[in-house]
């Protein structure tokens, strides 16, 4: 399928898109770019680096637990490993890798040229990188956080964790929350205002909807984490009394604040993953998504309900049964929109002509694993059952089924699906199939026996266990499974490394897909599209070939036709929120070093707080504020 570029200007007075859009060369371009595609790929690469680091930590833990009374690592090291494994996977892999895909894909899916706030987007990446370096640097000082990934007080108060370890965690999660928040703002504003003309609300791709629902959850959930961790750090560093019962504080307050973020966070990770699955199932069933409105509504239903279930993480804290009963009931309700989505995926395949390339295999693997994780989810939502398995390996099994199985599998499917768009080269199907089956087997051999271990009474977070408690054999199985799973993920890494430059050419639309990112070249040029596409359907590339483009109305000069829709100006068409009618345009800001400098200032500021070094802190504040002022001074919103 070829699509001619209708508005490529041949007139000499118009600059070429290259002149207008390309980054500065070399290192300067690296630090100044505001191109959502470069930033998105950066997010993905950085996040996967953290993924493999945290995965290696898991392997060390499984080496320790493979046999009873083992001493591969000390108890102290083990505490650091399980704390950082969870922290990295949640904060530095799962969330940012989804933001990476979102950043890369959203403007392409919308038929636009960049995000609504490109410099903010660059800033979000630098903050993510800074917070990752900040948290991981704790290993260099031998002082990695060791209070568990949810860092409950009073264990994590200064009296019981006197080292600097927990400060890396508390400050690090506040730091990374800034990145998540600005990313969410960008997703919402872009999806509301930068859609191609004609992409009315009921034609927005479901993947975009899933990111919008996720972004709204971020806006209202992350402040609670910031508060929880902020008050914890105030207690630790400045001696306040928020969580100190002896001074009138309350330790349960921390748990409430933490889980008011913590439960929505599960769906913050899960919703974009379901968006990816919806996309992949639709394309490889070659069938319109069954129940478009139902799926989109389910995203928002889940997002809404998720704010009313946080207490189910606290069933064992001794709250009144009336209260916990309400939260148990609300938790069951989550199964309803989840079930609706599930039926829509089945319905799409039912009506379609299903193909089974690697992305589809990962989507189907997701369906199986999510079903199991969903069932155990309903089990642990039940009050009496939860009291039995709290803090046991049953819970570890459950949340790995949902967070590893139901999020990581879609992410791997997304890699196979969209890497050809990002690089222009197909990944190997053969290696991909090996990777998928190894991962699926390894995953279940690793995590399924944990259900049984938990019911037999094995507590989570123990660094070792005695012989003859009925744990020995199953733990060995789990450890063997973890190696198989690791090999499976390694095969995909190998696949990407080998083929991202040498694989067969992908062409524009190798999967015969329906959404707009496949209407442009692979990889897309900096300006994404030669001209703004016009949308008349939910599945534009299936319904209209070639795709119609915005063009000049009668009587306009070519130059007018180029603006704001042609690529010869650094502009993006803005449309109205619901009906996606033309509503002016905005100038995409030039590349700038300022976002990176604000990120640097923040990094220095956080290091200053960590070390309680007033000089370092104020240096960070001054650098950050100076850069912010320069940012505000250059800001041209009044001029577009």
């Amino acid at each position: 399928m070829t699509i001619e570029s209708p508005l490529r200007a041949d007139e000499p007075d118009l600059p070429s898109p290259e002149e207008v859009w390309e980054d500065r060369p070399g290192l300067l371009g690296f630090f100044t770019t505001v191109d959502h595609k470069r930033i998105g790929i950066r997010y993905i690469v950085t996040a996967f680096t953290f993924f493999f680091i945290a995965g290696l930590m898991a392997l060390v833990m499984r080496a320790q637990l493979a046999r009873p009374d083992s001493d591969v690592v000390s108890a102290e090291t083990y505490n650091q490993l399980f704390t950082m494994h969870g922290t990295i996977m949640i904060f530095l892999f799962n969330t940012p890798v989804l933001f990476g895909f979102g950043n890369y894909l959203m403007p392409l899916l919308l038929g636009s040229r960049d995000m609504a706030f490109p410099r903010l987007n660059a800033f979000g990446y630098w903050v993510f990188l800074g917070s990752g370096v900040f948290m991981l640097s704790s290993f260099v000082f031998g002082a990695a956080p060791d209070g568990g990934w949810f860092a409950y007080v009073p264990l994590t108060d200064k009296a019981f964790s006197s080292g600097i370890n927990l400060d890396f965690w508390g400050l690090g999660v506040i730091f990374t929350g800034i990145s998540t928040t600005v990313g969410a703002i960008n997703f919402i504003a872009s999806a509301f205002k930068l859609r191609a003309p004609g992409m009315t609300v009921n034609r927005i791709p479901l993947l975009v909807w899933s990111f919008v629902a996720m972004a709204f959850m971020v806006l209202f959930a992350v402040p609670s984490l910031t508060t929880a961790a902020g008050l914890l750090e105030a207690d630790r560093l400045f001696g306040t009394a928020f969580y100190r019962p002896a001074s009138g504080g309350n330790v349960l307050l921390y748990q409430h604040l933490f889980w008011f973020w913590g439960h929505p966070e599960v769906y913050i990770l899960f919703l974009p993953a379901t968006g990816m699955v919806t996309t992949i199932i639709t394309v490889f069933s070659r069938h319109r998504t069954a129940g478009y409105v139902w799926v989109a509504s389910s995203f928002f239903g889940i997002a809404f309900i998720s704010f009313g279930v946080w207490v189910h993480h606290m069933f064992a804290t001794g709250m009144p049964t009336q209260a916990t009963g309400m939260f148990a009931a609300a938790s069951f309700v989550v199964a309803v929109p989840s079930g609706i989505m599930y039926m829509c995926w089945i319905g799409t395949m039912w009506g379609g002509d299903v193909r089974f390339p690697v992305p589809m295999l990962f989507a189907l693997g997701f369906l199986v694993i999510f079903l199991l994780g969903g069932i155990t989810g309903v089990m642990v939502a039940s009050l009496p059952f939860d009291l039995q398995v709290t803090d046991s390996y049953f819970v570890v099994a459950h949340f790995h089924y949902v967070l590893n199985g139901a999020v990581v599998f879609p992410i791997f499917g997304a890699l196979y699906y969209w890497v050809p768009k990002m690089t222009g080269h197909m990944l190997s199907e053969r290696l991909g199939k090996w990777s998928f089956w190894t991962m699926l087997v390894g995953f279940n051999v690793t995590f399924f026996p944990m259900h049984i271990l938990g019911q037999r009474g094995m507590a989570r977070r123990v660094y070792t266990y005695d012989r003859g408690l009925g744990f020995d054999f199953l733990n060995m199985i789990v450890s063997v499974g973890s190696v198989v799973f690791a090999i499976g993920t390694g095969l995909t890494l190998l696949n990407v490394v080998l083929n991202h430059k040498r694989g067969p050419a992908a062409g524009r639309n190798p999967w015969d897909a329906d959404t707009l990112e496949w209407a442009t070249e692979s990889p897309p040029p900096e300006w994404n599209f030669e001209a703004s596409p016009v949308i008349n359907s939910r599945h534009p590339l299936w319904d209209e070939e070639p795709l119609p483009y915005v063009a000049a109305a009668d009587g306009e000069s070519t130059e007018q036709a180029q603006s704001p829709i042609g690529a010869s100006r650094r502009e993006v068409a803005v449309t109205t929120g619901f009906s996606a009618e033309a509503d002016g345009h905005f100038r995409v800001p030039e590349p700038s070093i300022v976002p990176a400098i604000v990120g640097l200032g923040l990094f220095v500021l956080f290091v200053g707080v960590l070390l309680i070094g007033a000089v370092i802190f104020w240096v960070g504040v001054v650098v950050g504020l100076a850069a912010l002022t320069s940012w505000a001074w250059q800001c041209e919103v009044d001029r577009s």
Partner: protein, 199 residues
């Protein structure tokens, strides 16, 4: 090649919607406001499980002077509304006067808060009540300080003739943030000052 006349899509609409920056600031306000919701929830949660309030024999905060400065802070939204109206009429001079007036009123409030902090009979470490009081009012003060710094940039831009009737998104979004800081204070004042007197 199909070329589609998307109802003259290349022509900017005559009645433009909210600017992008408006969306950005509204979302910032939503998420910042949620921080105050979380903190005030922490305040009432701690209070609900505490046998005495305020704790440790601290007197409820004095209402007289803070009420006066609350009026000053809330009233600073009026010149901000006026500033936006002025620039819509292309009146840069009145815009600058109004921005300066709002700035002075905000600054007065912040200076008063500094004096109030200096004269507090308790410290942040004393008990949970003291920690909550100082951290919540302090965080509001930091938001106000950031508003004042923003105001400096906006006033400088106004002085350099950056704004006119058609181009003043910066003024619009800055005033939104200013109103937000004022509205948050209504909740902080009601919770930390007024409600502490309820027995």
């Amino acid at each position: 090649m199909t070329v589609f006349d998307a109802t003259r899509a290349s022509i900017p609409s005559t009645r433009p919607g909210r600017p992008l920056a408006w969306w950005g600031v509204m979302l910032v306000i939503a998420t910042e406001g949620t921080i105050f919701v979380a903190l005030l929830s922490a305040y009432f949660y701690t209070r609900a499980v505490s046998p005495e309030w305020p704790q440790g024999g601290i007197d409820p905060p004095d209402l007289l002077r803070i009420s006066l400065f609350t009026v000053v802070l809330l009233a600073s939204s009026l010149p901000m509304v006026y500033a936006e109206r002025a620039i819509k009429r292309n009146d840069v001079r009145r815009l600058r006067i109004a921005l300066a007036a709002a700035f002075a009123m905000g600054l007065a409030f912040l200076v008063h808060q500094g004096f109030e902090f200096a004269g507090l009979e308790f410290g942040v470490k004393d008990n949970a009540y003291a920690s909550l009081f100082i951290v919540i009012t302090g965080l509001h003060g930091i938001h106000l300080l950031i508003g004042l710094l923003m105001s400096v940039v906006v006033q400088l831009k106004a002085a350099r003739g950056w704004f006119d009737a058609a181009h003043h998104d910066t003024v619009t979004v800055f005033s939104l943030y200013w109103h937000f800081v004022d509205v948050v204070w209504i909740f902080v004042f009601s919770s930390l000052y007024l409600s502490a007197h309820l027995r």
